[in-house]
Symmetry: C2
Subunit: 98 residues, 2 copies
């Protein structure tokens, strides 16, 4: 955050992104995706690893996609999700306090 005070727009954007990340299930999803070297994962894989239902995982993936933190890719009948590293780099920059 060493480029000076945030603008109103930046405050609104980062508030929304940090709120999205702060949800425990979404933190767990991100942690599972990162734990697999950020390779694309399916809803089924995440549901199995985290121990939650597929609709619950889908709901949270939709929130993360809506915030621009992950991307959804469809190949035939298989849907996978990957993280968008730029968005996370942006959030890390906001938390750069030294």
């Amino acid at each position: 955050m060493n480029k000076g005070p945030l603008t109103d727009e930046e405050v609104a954007r980062y508030s929304r992104l940090f709120s999205c990340v702060a949800d425990p299930t979404r933190l767990r999803i991100l942690s599972e995706i990162a734990g697999c070297g950020c390779d694309p994962v399916t809803v089924n894989e995440l549901a199995e690893r985290i121990g939650l239902s597929q609709p619950t995982i889908s709901h949270h993936l939709k929130k993360l996609t809506g915030c621009g933190l992950i991307a959804r890719e469809q190949q035939g009948r298989t849907v996978t999700h990957t993280v968008l590293p730029e968005a996370f780099a942006e959030l890390r920059a906001v938390l750069q306090m030294d």
Copy 2:
């Protein structure tokens, strides 16, 4: 987050910290502190720069202190606040997704 999936304790801790950071006024406070090279700041200085009342700023500083993101220091009648860089480094590590 490349050390593998988060534990339940880590999920709870980071969920609390990201929720704390996600508040727009607290993001603005952190941005003001970082914008001044992370030098200690008083409640008065922050209230003036952000354009909010001292009680409002104090309330949010208390939340940030309670989460271990900033530290409060008292010297005589002057109270200042500084960021705790280790806590922010920890949050940046959680957001390391590439």
